[in-house]
């Protein structure tokens, strides 16, 4: 199908493009941008993009898709639907499925289910160790062959330093990026909230920032020694950002991301014991949040993720400390990012880059772009569209979001995946 979207503001960080122009799609790929159609192009369909923006389909480096296994809500079908409702067309799925994705079989299952859903591109992240236990290595080569784009331990960081060192050294030869969540389990000490005035008042078991920073320090050194490309996931402390900046200055091939909700909420939001605000890593202090935002503005933080964790209602209907941490965040990744642009002085190009060009680069891919011949993965946004979040109206099966009632400016109208429309906003 040949499609032209006319007169829209096309924003593409990979081409440093921000221009009102036309965009042409043919045979599932971008045929070009510009006021003149490419040679021999006659559209079957024309969409008037006046007043709208076109963004590359977002790439989310961390989103759980509910299967295989039943400890998360939803399925690949439902959650990829949720993704495209949020303008996201490529999703990295962490290995904490059930069974754990430490084998070719599970990787292929994920890809098969994704192909059946045919809604978005699912990129499995393989488990670095078997069953994520942090002891024996997974079959790294098989995982790579099967199509894993990266390796990680999800939320089960390897505690034993020797094991981590060996795992990194082994992986180097396979040229795969390792995503590491830095957390020292003993320092975490079964805490559930950031150690600060709120945890003090509420008597919630505390998590000191040192749980993250000491682990990060160790991880950075081991990463440097192994010479591996490492990506640090979901950082939450100001000090962590300093350490990454330092590492980058020394020339280490490291990148990092932050969960979008960490850029909006702090420990103060935990004050009512509302388990919708229970996340891991926890919401930290205002100073930490400001450091994260600054890190994003200056490029120390490369990418922003949703850390999508769809949960059943019962998993949150518990006292704070017993509830499962996590937010159903696919549909609020882009809106919350745009809010930072609108209200917190984040540069638009930087914001879009953090969910398109940068994640692609981190994975060593060339996607996240609207360049000619790229797959036509894109979303059309109404930048003035005003809406309020109602969890019950969310597409995801997980309704666990603390952003209920938040007002947003900027509405995804349509999303295309490989040139096919896969989402149309029902409230148009």
């Amino acid at each position: 199908m040949r499609l032209v979207i006319t007169n829209a503001r096309v924003i593409d960080p990979t081409q440093k493009l921000d221009q009102v122009t036309n965009l042409y799609i043919a045979r599932g790929r971008i045929a070009g941008t510009g006021n003149e159609a490419p040679e021999g192009f006659t559209p079957d369909q024309e969409i008037d993009g006046t007043g709208k923006w076109i963004l590359p389909g977002l790439i989310d480096l961390q989103a759980r898709l509910g299967e295989p296994g039943s400890h998360y809500a939803g399925s690949i079908a439902s959650e990829t639907q949720a993704a495209v409702a949020g303008g996201i067309t490529s999703i990295c799925c962490p290995p904490d499925t059930s069974p754990v994705n430490d084998s070719q079989a599970v990787t292929e299952l994920l890809q098969r289910r994704a192909r059946q859903a045919a809604t978005a591109f699912v990129m499995p992240i393989g488990a670095l160790t078997q069953a994520l236990k942090g002891e024996r290595l997974s079959g790294i080569y098989s995982l790579k062959q099967a199509g894993c784009v990266a390796l990680s331990q999800a939320n089960n960081p390897i505690q034993n330093s020797l094991t981590l060192k060996n795992a990194l050294e082994y992986t180097v030869s396979h040229d795969m990026v390792v995503m590491l969540r830095s957390e020292n389990k003993q320092l975490k000490n079964d805490g559930v909230a950031h150690s600060g005035p709120v945890s003090t008042r509420l008597g919630l078991p505390e998590i000191s920032p040192s749980a993250e920073t000491t682990a990060l320090a160790r991880d950075l050194i081991l990463v440097e020694e192994a010479g591996i490309r490492a990506h640090f996931s979901q950082l939450s402390c100001a000090r962590s950002i300093e350490m990454i900046a330092e590492a980058k200055k020394r020339g280490l091939p490291v990148t990092c991301d932050v969960a979008i909700h960490q850029l909006h909420l702090t420990e103060m939001d935990v004050l009512g014991f509302n388990s919708l605000f229970h996340v891991s890593p926890p919401f930290r202090s205002m100073q930490d949040k400001q450091a994260l935002l600054m890190g994003l503005k200056t490029g120390v933080i490369d990418a922003v993720v949703s850390d999508h964790t769809p949960l059943e209602k019962d998993d949150k209907l518990l006292p704070f400390g017993e509830s499962i941490p996590g937010i159903s965040g696919l549909e609020t990744l882009l809106p919350l990012l745009l809010k930072l642009v609108q209200e917190y002085d984040l540069d638009l190009m930087t914001a879009i880059r953090s969910v398109t060009e940068s994640p692609a680069k981190i994975l060593g891919l060339k996607t996240g772009s609207l360049e000619k011949n790229q797959p036509a993965d894109l979303c059309i946004l109404d930048p003035e569209g005003f809406w309020t979040l109602d969890p019950q109206e969310m597409v995801s099966e997980g309704k666990n979001t603390p952003f209920k009632g938040w007002e947003f400016v900027g509405k995804v109208e349509q999303t295309f995946f490989q040139g096919r429309p896969v989402y149309r906003n029902p409230n148009l």
Partner: protein, 350 residues
């Protein structure tokens, strides 16, 4: 938009009176004073015994202890029976599963048995509030201790004890010695003392037993015992639990006693008429010397009696407020009816 801005005080009913008793946070001085004053009425001034009164006859109170505690549960049972209420108690062992169904379903099944009030003790901070948010509107929840968060009745009986001996909490200097980090009792005591405008609240103990930001509670932290209890009017010793030794928070009971144990020599540093309190059970030779625990300045044994009276006070106040709210609503409803019928009359006259 964030949770803290949007939650009204779930403990108070529409008339601003106590409906649940979950924590002292968010309560005003008059709420606390009402409890203390009402508690007086339950004590026979001549014998110091707790009276039995028929006030809650026909009301049903259920004690749900998810965290076992014979002492506290027995105290509550005695208080409830002294109010002539129907009492039942359940010791519920929390199962390993974390499914919401079992917790809330347990509650809803119990509610079907027509309890007017649940007294709940649970290992999770915030559990009492969680229950309060899910009970029917005419059911009341009383927090008997939730995780490390709050133990409001204990704090109130401690305030009652102080008031008995010192007249008023206003302008007093109090030192609380021991484990603040893990203690819901201390958190609640600090809140009570704040609301009642104590002049100075000191917390004394090793750094490992202090939370990250004690200033957030409005207390002065002392790591030196001698400095900490100098010139205070009240000393509250808090129990040191065994688990603290195993996680390298303090080396041993012996060392704790050397540094923080309340001996007669240390007691002499406080005001000469200072009183010594302990929520119990006491560890002799760990927090406190036997000589002091049994000495003339110790009011530890009285705290038990007062505990029953204070709990009786909280329960009767809550039930009383519920009765008055119902009465108020009935009156409002009939006023509206009157207005409507007046309106009708006017229309007819036209």
């Amino acid at each position: 938009m964030s949770s803290r801005l949007s939650s009204p005080n779930i403990q108070l009913n529409e008339l601003g009176k106590l409906h649940h008793f979950l924590t002292l946070e968010g309560l005003k001085q008059h709420h606390l004073v009402e409890i203390l004053d009402t508690a007086e009425s339950f004590i026979n001034p001549n014998t110091n015994e707790i009276k039995k009164v028929p006030v809650l006859r026909g009301k049903s109170i259920m004690n749900l202890f998810f965290e076992p505690s014979t002492r506290t549960r027995t105290t509550f049972e005695i208080a409830e029976k002294r109010l002539s209420a129907d009492v039942s108690s359940l010791d519920i062992q929390t199962s390993a599963t974390k499914k919401g169904e079992s917790l809330l379903d347990t509650l809803w099944n119990l509610q079907a048995m027509q309890a007017n009030m649940f007294v709940i003790r649970h290992a999770q901070s915030g559990a009492a509030q969680f229950f309060a948010q899910h009970v029917a509107p005419d059911v009341h929840v009383l927090n008997a201790g939730d995780g490390q968060h709050a133990h409001p009745t204990q704090a109130m009986l401690d305030m009652f004890t102080i008031r008995k001996h010192k007249g008023d909490i206003f302008d007093l200097k109090i030192a609380i010695v021991g484990d603040l980090l893990h203690s819901r009792v201390v958190r609640s005591q600090i809140q009570a003392l704040s609301i009642l405008e104590a002049r100075e609240i000191r917390v004394v103990g090793p750094k490992t037993l202090m939370p990250e930001s004690p200033e957030a509670l409005g207390v002065h932290v002392y790591h030196d015992m001698e400095e900490g209890i100098k010139g205070v009017d009240v000393i509250i010793m808090v129990r040191l639990q065994n688990e603290r030794m195993t996680s390298a928070l303090i080396p041993s009971e012996k060392e704790f006693f050397k540094l923080y144990g309340l001996t007669e020599a240390r007691l002499a540093l406080a005001k000469p008429d200072a009183i010594v309190m302990h929520p119990g059970p006491i560890n002799r030779g760990v927090e406190i010397d036997s000589a002091v625990a049994d000495g003339p300045q110790s009011v530890i044994l009285e705290q038990v009696t007062y505990g029953i009276a204070v709990r009786m006070a909280v329960m009767s106040i809550i039930m009383s407020n519920a009765a008055q709210l119902t009465q108020y609503k009935t009156e409002q409803a009939s006023l509206e009816l009157d207005e409507n019928s007046t309106l009708k009359v006017n229309l007819e006259e036209k």
